[in-house]
Amino acid sequence: MGDFLFARAQMAMSLAFHIVFAAVGIGLPLLMAIAEGLYLRTKQAVYLDLCKRWAKGTAILFAVGAVSGTVLSFELGLLWPGFMQHAGAIIGMPFSLEGFAFFTEAIFLGVYLYGWKRVSPLIHWLSGLIVALSGIFSGIFVVTANAWMNSPAGFKMVDGKIEDVDPIAAMLNPASFHEVMHMTLAAFVATGFMVAAVHAFFLLRDRGNTFHRAALGIALAVACISMPLQILSGDLSARAVARLQPAKLAAMEAHYRTRTGAPLVIGGIPRDQTMTTAYAIEIPRGLSFLATHNPNASVAGLEEFHRDQWPNVRLVHWSFDLMVGSGMVMLALTLCAAVLWLKYRVLPDKRWLLHGLVGAGPLGFLAIETGWMVTELGRQPWIIYGVMRTREAVTPMPGLVAPFLIFTAVYFFLATVVVFLLRQQFLETQNPVPAQSGEVAHA
C-alpha cells in the first residue's frame, strides 16, 4: 500500500471512529433531557436515576468524541492539504459555525454534568436541552461541508484557480438538505436502538424492573418516531443522488448498463470486467422506481462514465445493501412495537420483541458506518466531486503508514476502554435501586 492509500485509510478510520461518538453525542443528550423532563413533571425518582446514568455515558462518549473530532479538524490539513488550500475558503464557514455550536455544547455539558447542586433544576434541564440542540447543530454544519464535497457549489473554477467564492451557496448546496436529514435522523435511530437493546437485555432478566422499563420506553419512543421518517429521508436521498451523482447511484445499485425499467439489484457479486452482477436478487423495475418514482424511467448505468471515474462498485454496493437491510429490520421492529403499543397501551415488553431489540442493537450503527461508506467511497475518485481528485489533494509527506498505525492502535485501545467503562456503568444498573424496584429482599 502506498502513502496515498494510507492517507485514505487513516482518514476513513478516524471518521469511522468519530462518527459513532458524534451520533451518540446527538442522540444521548436528547434521551437524557427527556428523562430529566419526565422527572421534573412526575417527580418519580426512577427518571432522575435514569437521567444521571445516561449523563455519565454522555460524559465519557463526549470526551472521546471531542478529542477525535479535534484530530479530524487537523487531519483535513495533515492528510489533504491540497484540498484545504482550495476548499478552506469555500467550506470553512460551516466548520466555523460548528466551532460555535461545539462551544455551546461543551459549556452547557460542563454545567449539566457538574452543576447538579449548583444550578436550579429548571436551569439544569435547560442546559441539557441546549446540549442536545447544539449537538444537532454541530452535526448539521459538518454534514453540509461533506455535502459540498459531494455536490460542490458556490465557486467557479477558472484555469485551476478558484473564483467567485460564495460560502453561503456552498453551504446550501443541493446535497445539504437530504444529507443533513438523513444523518441527523440516523443519529436518533442508532442511539435509540442501541440504548433500547441494552435495557431490553436487562429486562429479559428482570421484567418488573421499573428503571429499565422507563429507559426502554424513552429509547423506544425516540427510535420508533425517527425510524419511519428515516425511511422517507432515505427515499429523498436516493432520488437526489440519482440526480446529482449518477455514478454513485449506479455503484450503489451495481447498475452497469443504462436501461429503462431498471431492476433493483440486491446482494450478489458485482464484476466490473463483465459488467454483470452474479447471484443477485433482482426486483423488476425496482431501481427505476426508487430513483425517479417512475417504474419505466431510464437510469444511467456505470457504462456512461469513463472507467477511471468509477467508485469501488463492490464495496459501495455491499455497504448500501447492508445499510438498507439494517434499516428494514429496524423498521419491522418499529412497526411491531407500534402495533403492540397501540393495542395494549403499555410498554411493549413481549419476550420476542425484547429479543429482537437486543439483536438489533448494533444495527443503527452498522447502518451509519455503511451509509457513510456509501457516501464517501461512492464519491471516489473525487475529493470534490467532478472538480478535484482525491489523489491530487494528498500530502507529499512520506511514511504515512506510521501515523495510520499509531492512530489505529490508539483508537482501538480507546474503543476498548470506552466499551469496558460503559459496560461497567450498565452493570451497576443490574442491581435495582431499592426505592424503585420495591422488590428487594429484606435481610
Binding site: 477525535s68 484530530v71 475558503a89 464557514m93 466555523s96 467503562l421
Partner: protein, 329 residues
Amino acid sequence: MLELIVAFFILASLIVYALMGGADFGGGIWNLLAFGPRAKRQREAIADAIGPIWEANHVWLILVIVLLFTGFPSAFGTMMTALNIPITVMLLGIVLRGSAFIFRKYDVEKERHWSAVFGMASFLTPFFQGVILGALATGQIRVEQGRVATGFMAGWLTPFALSCGVFALGLFAFLAATYLTLDTRDEPDLQEDFRRRSLWSGLALAPIALAVFLTSRRGTPAMYHELTRWWAPLLLVWTSLFAGTALIALWFRRFVVAWLAAIGQVALILVGWGLAQYPNLITPDVTVTNSAAPEFTLRLLVIALGFGAILLLPSLAYLFYVFKRSERG
C-alpha cells in the same frame, strides 16, 4: 483590512486558549509532579478545578484551527504539510490527555494509570505547541509556487523552536499553579503547596525566557529584528512588571493580584509574539495578506464571529460564574 480582523481574532483565541486550555495542561503537569504528604489531595484539587471547564477551554484551539483554514487556507495547508510531524505528535497528546482525564473519573480501579497518562500527555502537548509556534517564526520553512520546498524537518528541530516548547511548558505550569492557589482557597495547606509551585515555576521562567531570547538571534532573525522596534522595550517592561508583580504577590499571599498579574503576563507575551510575527504567518513566505481567503469569505467570517461572540461570551461567563464564584469571591 478584513484579513487583519480575522488574524486578530485568531491571536485573541490563541491567547484565551493559552490562558484557559494552557492552564488545564499545566494542571496535568502538576498532576504528574504531585508529591509530598498531600499528593492525592493535590490531584483531586486539580481534577475539581478543571473538570467542568476543560472541554470548553479546549474548543478555543478548534476555533483557532477553523479560523485559520477558513481565513488563511493556504497558510493552513503549508503549516500542516511542513509541520506534519510535530502536529501529529501534539494531536496524540490531545487525544490521550482528554480521554485519560475522563477515564480516570469513571475507571476507579485504574485511576492511577489514567492519571499518569493524563499527566504525561499534558507534558507532551504544550511542549509541541510551543515548538510549532516557534518553528513558524524561524524562517526555515520555505514555500515555492504554493508548495513546501523545505521538507518536513525544517524549523521545528532548531534550538529556538525547542526552547519555545520548554517555555510553553513552564508558562502553563506557572499559570496552573497560580490559578490553583485560588481554587484551593478553602484548604490553606493545599494552597501553600500550589503557592510554592507557582513561585518556583515563575522563577524558572526567567532562565527559559533568556534561552528563548538568546536562541532567537540566530534562530529567528526576522523576529529578532522586529523585537528591536519601538514597541518592543515597552512590551518587555510591561511583561516584566506583570511577572514581577505576580511573584511578589505570591510571596505576600495576595492570590487574586497574582492571578491577575499572571494572566497579564501570559497575554502580553503572546501579544508580543503576534506583533513580532506580523505580517508573517509562516516567516518569510506566507503572510496575512498573501494567504488570505477571498474577501466575501472573510466578510462572512467576521459577521459569524460577531454573532458567535454574542452567543458565546455570556455562556462562558455563566459557566465560570457557576463553577468559580465560590473561589473568586
